[in-house]
């Protein structure tokens, strides 16, 4: 289908993509995550045939990227994709439609990208978000099987972002593969069926957002505890029993992190069920108890930090 097969690419001494092997499936929405310089853009360039791999092969729908593009199978929205100047929005979208072997009608493309109202405006007079929508229109000018988006919502406001992803979900629902690179982890969390974590050109993780979070191996427990606020006073009194709430909390099982601020307790635990049980068993009475998975962001940081440590 769509895949990398042992693809490597370096620029001088810098290994941008290292031995990347992965396959994308129809109808999948895949997020490509990674810090700056992780090789995301290079990986997308390789996928689109804008750069040639040093080793390995990229296959798109049974052919080379160029062949797939010529057949109208691939649409892409590039971060660095400039636009033609001195032309109107409609003209440049019309151009994309005319060049596409399996094009949609231009009015439909304009409407989908929410450009109908500004179709007569000059491309070089658009705001950043509007420009992004034009790029999006260029990427969806025809019936592409694969849509590649590099940081697509940069410069969009919240409502534009939501509208954008609604459109993208509709594309995926039609059986298209959507691959997007992003900085916004909540986007990846909310939208992607599958998350790829790229770091220093290597694929560190590949799974659902939940799996990635689970791999980081911890859940977050938050609750309020009465009697914590005045603990300073109590310390002055020098409680002989030593059984301060802090000591109890510190002794909880499966603890990966503990943070107390005011009367709010934040715990990271590798086994949340056991930890919570122990809290009650110790006779504490937590209020407003919340147990949640780590955010993708924390998971992502944990995974990349692990990798950094392994390399050291």
């Amino acid at each position: 289908m769509v895949g990398f097969n042992g693809v490597s690419k370096s620029f001088g001494d810098v290994q941008a993509v290292a031995d990347l092997t992965l396959e994308l499936h129809p109808g999948e929405t895949v997020a490509l995550l990674g810090p700056n310089g992780a090789g995301k853009s290079t990986a997308l360039d390789l996928l689109l045939g804008l750069r040639m791999p040093d080793t390995g092969t990229v296959e798109l729908f049974g052919g080379s990227p160029r062949q797939a593009i010529a057949r109208g199978m691939v649409g892409a929205m590039l971060q660095s994709g400039g636009l033609m100047e001195d032309v109107t929005v409609r003209e440049v979208v019309q151009l994309a439609c005319d060049l596409h072997p399996r094009a949609h009608p231009v009015d439909q493309v304009l409407a989908t990208a929410d450009l109908t109202e500004i179709a007569g405006r000059k491309v070089n007079k658009l705001s950043g978000g509007q420009e992004q929508r034009v790029r999006f229109a260029l990427a969806t000018a025809g019936a592409n099987e694969l849509i590649v988006l590099d940081e697509p919502t940069t410069g969009m406001d919240v409502s534009a972002r939501q509208a954008f992803w609604a459109t993208m979900r509709a594309q995926a629902a039609e059986g298209r593969t959507v691959l997007f690179a992003t900085h916004y982890l909540e986007e990846a969390d909310a939208i992607a069926d599958r998350v790829l974590v790229l770091h220093r050109g290597r694929l560190l993780a590949d799974g659902t957002a939940a799996e990635i979070k689970a791999r980081a191996g911890a859940r977050r427990i938050v609750f309020d505890l009465e009697g914590l606020e005045d603990r300073e006073d109590r310390e002055d009194r020098d409680d002989p029993s030593g059984e301060t709430p802090e000591a109890v909390l510190n002794a909880l099982p499966h603890l990966a992190g503990l943070e107390i601020s005011g009367r709010t307790v934040r715990i990271r635990s590798t086994d949340a069920d056991a930890t919570v049980h122990a809290v009650y068993a110790a006779g504490l009475y937590p209020r407003n108890l919340e147990v949640a998975g780590l955010g993708l962001e924390q998971a992502f940081l944990a995974i990349t930090a692990e990798e950094e440590a392994a390399n050291r």
Binding site: D45, L48, G49, L50, R51, M52, R66, I69, A70, R71, G72, V74, G75, A76, L78, S80, G81, G82, L83, M84, E85, D86, V87, E91, V92, Q94, L95, A96, D98, L99, H100, P101, R135, L138
Partner: protein
């Protein structure tokens, strides 16, 4: 591909300032070079008047300037901005891109040629047969495609910073060796031979042959055709293979 050609031409027409200066520059230069020249003075070694010689030279030079400078710089800038990258994600073949760029350049060169001819006829009393005017126009215009293609090729190898100086050097050297500023007949023999195989001399020679009342030489056409294929083919190839730089 038709849409791209149409758009590229539209863009040039909309860019009034660029259009104005590109079109006005050759006739002005023609008037400067021929200032004080006797309208009937013949050029040594050639059977045509000095003014007629310069008319064709300036048609060629003006067209060359407009297309070479315009294309080279605009293309390298478009490349840097990433528009070319975006285009490469469409089914557009390399030749489509080069053709559109040559077409847009030709939109500028045509009025500049016509203006030089109008100035020559009205201010400098150049008198030719109707077919000669038509022939010179056609040859000067068609010949400018070669330099437009060179402009595309330069826009492709150079970054925006250096595209202009490279295009300047290319066109100064070609124009000087092509006898566009000083009569070609003043060159030493060996230089004339070299110039015959560079693009600018054959280019001007097309129009000058017509001024003599004969058809353009096949050899000149062949040399120009060779350069057109070389530059356009090279540019199309680079458009497709531009994987080294984003």
């Amino acid at each position: 591909m038709k849409t791209l050609i149409k758009l590229e031409i539209l863009r040039v027409l909309r860019n009034r300032k660029f259009m104005f200066f590109s079109v006005i520059y050759p006739p002005v230069l023609f008037l400067l070079l021929t200032a004080g020249q006797d309208a009937h003075k013949k050029l040594d070694g050639l059977g045509i008047t000095v003014v007629a010689y310069y008319m064709v030279a300036m048609c060629a030079f003006g067209a060359m300037t407009a297309v070479l400078m315009g294309n080279a710089e605009r293309i390298s800038r478009e490349r840097e901005k990433g528009w070319v990258r975006q285009l490469r994600l469409t089914a557009l073949p390399g030749r489509g891109y080069v053709t559109a760029k040559i077409a847009s350049a030709a939109t500028i060169s045509l009025p500049s040629i016509i203006l030089v001819m109008l100035v020559a006829a009205s201010v400098k009393q150049v008198r030719l047969d109707a077919w000669q005017w038509a022939g010179i126009l056609l040859c000067s215009w068609a010949g400018s495609f070669v330099f437009a293609a060179l402009g595309v090729a330069i826009g492709y190898v150079a970054t925006a910073d250096v595209a202009r100086p490279i295009a300047m050097i290319a066109y100064f050297v070609l124009a000087a060796l092509g006898g566009l500023w000083a009569p070609f007949t003043l060159f030493p023999g060996w230089l004339q031979t070299i110039a015959d195989y560079l693009p600018a001399r054959p280019y001007a020679a097309l129009g000058q042959a017509i001024e003599f009342g004969s058809a353009p030489h096949l050899k000149d056409i062949a040399v120009l055709a060779f350069y057109l294929v070389l530059f356009a083919g090279g540019a199309a190839w680079m458009y497709r293979k531009d994987t080294a730089k984003a």
